[in-house]
């Protein structure tokens, strides 16, 4: 009696399981196919284009907003909301002819006043954490409804790049009359998608904007879902819960390659993974210590072992694909003997103890990289304690002003050059005026000669001269070593093979605005 009951139970169980496995593959037809779910690696922060919100947020904003111009995956600048432009002889006045017949998501028509309201917001709004990129703009003059003139304080060589960057996204003037919180919660742009819903800390959903001026995408809806765990992303893609993932390990890629249901896409990145030193703390205020630590790390082993070859050893604070990278050989090699020698000179013959903070999951293999560096530094007597934080609190922690209880000694970040050229990084990461929390100089680095060259290169429109200045700046920064550059990431994305037209930008986010369905 007992036995037959057990058999019956087993049969019921087997049947119910068979039922489960069958249901996963169906229902993928028609309507559902045009709605996709994209797994992003960290929390989606503010959706205000003028607020830094890291790559997951930028990915979403890229579908909602458009700038006057836009950059492609090769960092070439193309017309977008502006059809053409010209610059005055003194280089201070830029005149843009605007596209006509463009509608905002709130139904308003795109006009010159919107450009003025958007860009001048940087000058008055203290909540704009990207002002450091745009505060050289003195004013925006409306010549007529479809012509604007942007006047800058000094000549700005990278103005077009900056306008093409996410922070240049144009918002409707009417929508900017609201409070900052409201702007971030329901942003109004001209992009092919409009915001549908945000679940804080979890997801953001955008839907197709029917009045979009351009060709747009085949997709009717994109849901950006935060999934911090790499293995969970992979499982979700396999079960069909998500359609697009990034940050995939080498082991997992092998499972998708050769499977016709999925496309594996690789692309270069200009994001340089590095450890930053808080130079207001001892012993990191000592250049010899920072150089010693740079010599103590075997980057090739990290790229090979930790990344599984999914990256390249850094050769400077700039990635090789970033405009302005100099091939002068400023990079530190792996030389533990030299590291020990420098530590001795610095007065730390037996090394020292310190703490390094890291995020977990935001960047590909972030925590593992920090662990590997920690293990290698132990060889020269530097013993690090690793503290792990979630992304949102980690950003706050690292971006604390140095005199405001900043406890960080060393941290892990990956900085991309947002505009694809060196001044984006040099100006916002290494100058005194951009010490955190104003900009992202979270090392609190300062060098007068570097500052001088930065000002020169910022306004230098002669390419040869500018490149020479960048090369000199790279040399100075590498010698001062506020960073320990580690490697440049390689981008990889895996997605449903019927999707096409997705571009992986070198600033490490996928662009869905032209995504088609085969």
């Amino acid at each position: 009696m007992k036995k037959s009951l057990a058999l019956l139970m087993a049969a019921v169980l087997a049947l119910s399981m068979a039922g489960c496995s069958g249901s996963g593959d169906t229902g993928d037809s028609g309507e559902a196919k045009t709605k996709i779910v994209v797994a992003v690696t960290a929390e989606i922060l503010s959706l205000d284009p003028q607020v830094n919100s890291s790559t997951p947020g930028e990915t979403v904003k890229d579908t909602i907003f458009e700038g006057l111009v836009k950059a492609d995956e090769f960092n070439e600048v193309h017309p977008s909301l502006a059809e053409s432009w010209s610059v005055s002889d003194d280089g201070l006045e830029w005149t843009f002819k605007l596209r006509q017949g463009v509608k905002f998501h709130d139904g308003e028509e795109f006009k010159a006043a919107d450009v003025k309201a958007t860009l001048e917001r940087y000058l008055t709004n203290e909540g704009s954490t990207r002002a450091y990129l745009y505060n050289n703009i003195k004013e925006v003059q409306i010549l007529d409804d479809y012509t604007v003139k942007i006047v800058t304080n000094t000549v700005q060589a990278n103005l077009l790049n900056v306008l093409a960057y996410g922070g240049g996204g144009i918002m409707s003037a009417k929508s900017l009359e609201r409070s900052n919180d409201e702007i971030a919660a329901s942003p109004v742009g001209t992009g092919p998608f409009k915001l549908k819903e945000v679940v804080t800390g979890e997801s953001a959903t955008v839907e197709k904007f029917d009045d979009y001026w351009g060709e747009g995408s085949d997709l009717t809806e994109i849901k950006f879902l935060t999934v911090t765990e790499a293995s969970t992303r992979v499982n979700m893609l396999e079960t069909g819960e998500v359609d697009y993932i990034t940050g995939v390990t080498k082991e997992d890629i092998a499972r998708f390659e050769g499977n016709e249901k999925f496309t594996v896409q690789y692309a270069d990145s200009n994001r340089v993974a590095h450890l930053g030193f808080n130079m207001t703390k001892t012993p990191f205020d000592n250049k010899l210590v920072r150089q010693a630590m740079n010599y103590a790390v075997d980057r090739e082993a990290i790229v090979e072992g930790v990344l599984g070859g999914m990256g390249t050893v850094a050769r400077s604070v700039l990635a090789e694909t970033t405009y302005g990278f100099s091939d002068a050989g400023d990079m530190y090699t792996y030389d533990p003997a030299k590291a020990k020698e420098l530590l001795k000179q610095a007065g730390y013959p037996d090394g020292f103890d310190a703490t390094v903070v890291t995020c977990d999951g935001r960047y590909f293999k972030d925590k593992a990289t920090v662990m590997a560096v920690t293990s290698q530094l132990a060889e020269v007597g530097i013993n690090l304690k690793v503290d792990v934080y979630d992304w949102a609190s980690y950003l706050d922690l690292v971006k604390t002003a140095w005199d405001d209880n900043n406890t960080v000694e060393m941290y892990f970040f990956g900085w991309e050059s947002g505009t694809g050229e060196a001044s984006y990084l040099f100006n916002s990461l290494f100058t005194k005026k951009n010490w955190a929390p104003v900009g992202w100089n979270t090392m609190f680095y300062e060098n007068d000669e570097f500052e001088k060259l930065n000002d020169l290169s910022y306004s230098c429109t002669d390419d040869t001269e500018r490149l020479a200045e960048y090369a000199q700046m790279q040399k100075i920064v590498m010698d001062d070593a506020p960073w320990m550059p580690l490697f440049v990431f390689q981008q990889v994305a895996v997605y449903r093979s019927d999707l096409s037209g997705i571009t992986l930008l070198p600033i490490e986010f996928p662009r869905f605005t032209e995504c088609k369905i085969k």
């Binding site: 293995s231 072992g305 293990s375 503290d387």
Partner: protein, 274 residues
């Protein structure tokens, strides 16, 4: 001796003792047993399968998993002992005070304990960590606090029951001090349930700290801690399951060992459930 004989006749308890012995020996002689230092990373040999050189293979950082497990036993002993010391002592003290003196003190203490008991221990521990901060020390303090309520309850009821015995009244009549009665007579005679609870707490502490380590709230990711090892291994569950299996087995066997011993002790000492 009679007690030991009875305990050893319980086959499951013997199995428990066997597991615990392995665990204790591993932690005691860790440097001798481990084939290398766990912090040593061979980045050119990551995720290797078990071999003669690496008995359990290497993890995603090229660390020897076998050595990690051996040193992890040490971490677990440290966790178990510290939690027992902190949580056990505080819990016992509260239980004694409440049980022996009763009255208002008892009521106030027990209501606090009731409040704490309303939360599952892992939740309480996570809450404590939010206040104290992450890391092994924080986790140990958090788990210690989380184990206080159960200890307090058990000790209290044990004291309440024991003090009703006639020999306690006799001591009182003889004019012995409260202290003497408590520590000479009541506590030794009410020890059985405390011992059983201690064994169970030991395994629970290991389990909770592993859980916290898995959630990234426990030990430093560099340290040899089973929960953290399991957490790091999770990304490779589908492709390289061996790096998750071994720490998993280690946790399971150790916790099982202490639970079996605890059950055996309970049967042998004839402790009623509280």
């Amino acid at each position: 001796m009679k007690f030991l004989k009875r305990l050893l006749s319980n086959k499951l308890a013997v199995l428990g003792i066997f597991f615990i012995l392995i665990f204790l020996l591993a932690s005691l002689f860790a440097p001798l047993i481990a084939t290398q230092d766990y912090s040593e990373m061979d980045l050119y040999n990551v995720l290797a399968l078990p071999s003669a050189e690496h008995l359990m293979g290497t993890d995603e950082m090229g660390r020897d998993i076998f050595s990690g497990i051996i040193y992890g036993a040490r971490t677990s002993v440290l966790i178990g002992v510290s939690v027992l010391l902190f949580g056990g002592l505080v819990g016992t003290a509260i239980g004694i005070l409440a049980g022996f003196f009763e009255g208002k003190l008892d009521m106030v203490l027990m209501r606090i304990i009731d409040t704490l008991m309303a939360f599952p221990s892992i939740l309480l521990a996570m809450f404590m960590i939010a206040i104290i901060g992450t890391g092994l020390k924080g986790a140990i303090v958090a788990v210690s606090i989380a184990t206080v309520p159960r200890f307090a309850r058990i000790v209290r009821s044990s004291v309440l029951k024991t003090k009703k015995n006639e020999y306690v009244d006799a001591c009182r009549v003889l004019g012995q001090s409260n202290m003497k009665i408590l520590f000479r007579h009541i506590l030794p005679n009410g020890m059985a349930p405390i011992i059983v609870q201690a064994t169970l707490t030991f395994s629970e502490a290991i389990l909770i700290i592993s859980g916290l380590g898995f959630l990234g709230l426990g030990a430093d990711p560099m340290s040899a801690e089973w929960g953290a090892m399991l957490s790091n291994a999770r990304a490779y569950l589908m492709t390289k399951p061996h790096i998750a299996i071994f720490p998993g087995i280690a946790i399971a066997i150790t916790v099982l060992g202490f639970n079996l011993l605890g059950d055996g002790l309970r049967d042998t000492l004839d402790v009623k459930e509280y």
